[in-house]
C-alpha cells in the first residue's frame, strides 16, 4: 500500500539535499550533546571554582572555564537544553496564536480580517526583537516569560503567513465544492484549509526556531533573558562580553553554539521547503 506516498517522496527529496542533511546532522549532534549532558561531562554547570577561573581550553576543560571557574563545555551542553527548549516552545506558542487567527482572518475576510490584521500590523511595526523586549519589560525576566515573549514576538509572522494561505486556498475549487455539499466553514477550515497549509507552516516553523533562538539569546545577552546562574547561550554570551579581549573563549563558544543551531535549523527549513513544495519539485 502506498497511502502516504507524497511524504515518502518528500523524505527522499530531503535526503538528497546535502545542506539539509548537514543541518539534520548538526541538530542531531546538538540534541544528543544536550540530552546526554549529565553522562558526557562530570562538571556541574553551576558549580563555581574560583581557583580555576578563566582557564583557556585544555585537556581538563576542553572549552576552558569562565570567570567563576565553571566548565564552559558543561555550561554549553546544559545551556543548550534551555536555548533549544525556548526555540521549540516559542515557535509552538507563535503557531498556536498565529495559525488560527491567520486562517480565520484570511478565510472569512470582512471585519474579522480587518480587526486581526490591524492588530498584526501593530505588532509587525515593531521588529520581532523589539516586541519581545517590550513584552519582557512588561512580564518580567525569567525562562517562562522569555518563552512567552519570544513566541508572541514571532506570532504576527504566522498570522500573516496563515492568512495568505487561507486567502489562496479558499478560492480553490475543492473548497467551493465543499461549500456546495453543505460542509460548514469550520470543517472546511479544518479539513481543507489547515491541511493544505501544513506544509508551508512546517517549513516556516522550522525557519523560525532559528529566529526565536536568536531573539531569546539576544534577550539573554542584554541580561533580560534567563537569569544567571542558569546557563543559557545568550546569557553566557553576555557574561563573556566583559572578557572578550583577554579570554575570548568565554564568548566565542556560546556564540558558536548559537550560530550552529540557527544555521542548522535554517538549512533544514530550506531543505523542507524544497522537498515539500510541489511547485519547486520537478
Amino acid at each position: 500500500m502506498s497511502v502516504r506516498r507524497p511524504w515518502v517522496q518528500a523524505l527522499r527529496a530531503l535526503a538528497r539535499n546535502r545542506a539539509a542533511v548537514a543541518g539534520i546532522v548538526v541538530i542531531a549532534i546538538l540534541g544528543f550533546l544536550v540530552a546526554a549532558a549529565p553522562l558526557l561531562t562530570s562538571y556541574d554547570p553551576m558549580q563555581q571554582n574560583l581557583s580555576s577561573a578563566l582557564r583557556p581550553p585544555s585537556a581538563e576543560h576542553p572549552l576552558g572555564t569562565d570567570n567563576l571557574g565553571r566548565d564552559i563545555l558543561a555550561r554549553i551542553m546544559f545551556g543548550g537544553r534551555i536555548s533549544l527548549l525556548i526555540g521549540v516552545l516559542a515557535v509552538s506558542i507563535a503557531m498556536a496564536i498565529g495559525v488560527p487567527l491567520g486562517l480565520l482572518s484570511g478565510y472569512f475576510g470582512g471585519w474579522v480580517d480587518m480587526v486581526i490584521q490591524r492588530i498584526a500590523d501593530m505588532m509587525l511595526s515593531f521588529t520581532t526583537f523589539l516586541l519581545a523586549l517590550a513584552l519582557v519589560a512588561v512580564l518580567g525576566v525569567g525562562l517562562r516569560n522569555v518563552i512567552i515573549a519570544t513566541g508572541v514576538g514571532v506570532a504576527p509572522q504566522f498570522i500573516r503567513l496563515a492568512r495568505g494561505l487561507a486567502l489562496s486556498l479558499r478560492e480553490q475549487a475543492y473548497v467551493e465544492a465543499a461549500t456546495g455539499f453543505g460542509v460548514s466553514d469550520l470543517m472546511i477550515l479544518w479539513r481543507h484549509v489547515l491541511r493544505n497549509s501544513l506544509t508551508p507552516l512546517i517549513v516556516y516553523a522550522t525557519l523560525n526556531i532559528g529566529i526565536t533562538i536568536i531573539v531569546a539569546a539576544g534577550l539573554g545577552f542584554l541580561g533580560l533573558g534567563v537569569q544567571p546562574p542558569t546557563p543559557e547561550w545568550g546569557t553566557m554570551l553576555g557574561e563573556g562580553r566583559d572578557y572578550i579581549f583577554h579570554a575570548s573563549y568565554l564568548a566565542t563558544f556560546p556564540g558558536l553554539a548559537i550560530f550552529l543551531a540557527v544555521l542548522a535549523f535554517n538549512l533544514i527549513g530550506d531543505g523542507l521547503r524544497d522537498a515539500l513544495d510541489p511547485n519547486l519539485r520537478a
Partner: protein
C-alpha cells in the same frame, strides 16, 4: 420547530415534475475602480434568465466563454448569491435562504466541476473525498460507510480497491469520475454539470457522457449541463438554451434548437460545429461572426448580439428583443427570427 425548506421533502420526484424553476434571475458583480475602490458599475453576468427543468430532463446551456453560463449554474443552486429574480426548487422559494437554511438543499443539488484537478483536495484520499458530502450531513454511517463509498465508485466505473489512493494517482477521466461519485453520494435530484468533460480527451469525453446518461436513467436525476461544445450538449440534452452575454437567446427542446435554429447566434454556432458525415462537409453554410464578444460591463444597447449580427437593423439598437415564439415554434430573442435549416445539426 419550524420546518426548514426541503427538509422533510426527500420524496422522490415523479418524472416530468418540475424540479427547478428560475424566473428572471440576475447576477451582477460589482466593478471597482480607482484607488478608493469605488463601485463604478456592475457586470451583469446573468441578466434576466428564466427556465424550468423537470425531473429526468437535461437542460443544456451553451455559449461562448464569458457569457455567464458558469455563473448561472452556480447561482441557480445558490453557490453564488443571486442579485434579483426568483429560484424555486421543488416548489420552494430558495432565493433568499440563509446558509443554515440552505443545508437541506445542499443534499439535493450537487455540482460537478470543470476542472477535475483543482476540484479534488490533493491531500485527501479518494475514500475521504467521496465521503465528504456524507460526513457534512452526518450520514456517513447510516448510508453504509465504506460499503457505500465502494458502491459509488463502482457506479462510476472506478475500481473500489483504489479508494485509498490520492487524486494525483488518477487520470483526468478517472478524476472526473471521482467528482461524479462525490456528487452522487447524497442521492441528489438535481446535478449541475459545469463543463464536466471540457478538460478531457475526446475519447474519454464519450465515456463520461455515457456514464452520465446511464446514471440519469438509473436515478431519474435532472441535469443542467453547461458547455461550450454544441456536439457534447446535443448528445445529452433534452432541452437546450443558447446563452449570449448573460441572456438566453434561444431555448427549446433539443430537436427544435438543433433542427430549427432561428436566432442568428445559434445559427452561427451550429454552422461552426464539426460534422461527422464527410459527404455533408463543405456543403453546409459556414457563418463566420465578426468581432469579439462585447464587454459585459458595458453591453450594446437593444439586442446584445447586434454588433456581430448580419441581420441587425436600426430597431435592434433601440429595442431588446423578447425571448418569444415569433412563429418558429420555440422561443428566440431576435426581431428577425427565422428558421435556417441549412445549418441544422442532426440530433439522432
Amino acid at each position: 420547530m419550524r420546518a426548514r425548506p426541503g427538509e422533510n421533502d426527500r420524496r422522490p420526484v415523479a418524472k416530468g415534475e418540475v424540479i427547478l424553476r428560475v424566473e428572471d434571475l440576475v447576477k451582477q458583480f460589482p466593478v471597482s475602480t480607482g484607488l478608493l475602490r469605488r463601485h463604478s458599475g456592475a457586470v451583469h453576468a446573468v441578466d434576466g434568465v428564466s427556465f424550468e427543468l423537470a425531473a429526468g430532463e437535461t437542460l443544456g446551456i451553451v455559449g461562448e466563454s464569458g457569457c455567464g453560463k458558469t455563473t448561472l449554474g452556480r447561482t441557480m443552486i445558490r453557490l453564488l448569491e443571486p442579485g434579483s429574480g426568483r429560484i424555486e426548487f421543488k416548489g420552494t422559494d430558495i432565493t433568499h435562504l440563509t446558509r443554515r437554511q440552505l443545508r437541506p438543499l445542499r443534499r439535493e443539488t450537487q455540482i460537478v466541476f470543470q476542472d477535475p484537478f483543482s476540484s479534488l483536495d490533493p491531500r485527501m484520499v479518494v475514500r475521504d473525498i467521496i465521503a465528504e458530502p456524507l460526513r457534512a450531513h452526518g450520514i456517513l454511517r447510516e448510508s453504509g460507510g465504506r460499503r457505500r463509498i465502494r458502491e459509488l465508485m463502482e457506479v462510476v466505473g472506478l475500481n473500489p480497491d483504489h479508494d485509498n489512493r490520492f487524486p494525483h494517482e488518477f487520470s483526468g477521466g478517472q478524476r472526473q469520475r471521482i467528482g461524479i461519485a462525490r456528487a452522487l453520494a447524497l442521492n441528489p435530484q438535481l446535478l449541475v454539470l459545469d463543463e464536466p468533460v471540457s478538460a478531457l480527451d475526446v475519447s474519454i469525453q464519450a465515456q463520461v457522457i455515457n456514464l452520465l446518461r446511464r446514471i440519469q436513467q438509473e436515478f431519474g436525476l435532472a441535469y443542467v449541463f453547461i458547455s461550450h461544445d454544441l456536439t457534447v450538449v446535443r448528445h445529452i440534452s433534452t432541452h437546450v438554451a443558447v446563452m449570449y452575454l448573460g441572456k438566453f437567446v434561444e431555448t427549446g427542446t433539443r430537436d427544435k434548437v438543433y433542427g430549427k435554429p432561428s436566432h442568428p447566434y445559434t445559427q452561427a454556432l451550429l454552422s461552426a460545429a464539426p460534422i461527422a458525415d464527410p459527404a455533408q462537409r463543405g456543403r453546409r453554410e459556414h457563418i463566420v461572426l465578426e468581432g469579439d464578444v462585447p464587454n459585459a460591463a458595458n453591453p450594446p444597447s437593444g439586442c446584445r448580439f447586434r454588433t456581430r449580427c448580419w441581420k441587425a437593423e436600426e430597431v435592434c439598437a433601440r429595442q431588446a428583443p423578447d425571448l418569444t415564439d415569433r412563429g418558429q415554434g420555440h422561443p428566440s430573442a431576435c426581431h428577425f427570427a427565422q428558421v435556417d435549416t441549412e445549418v441544422a445539426l442532426p440530433t439522432s
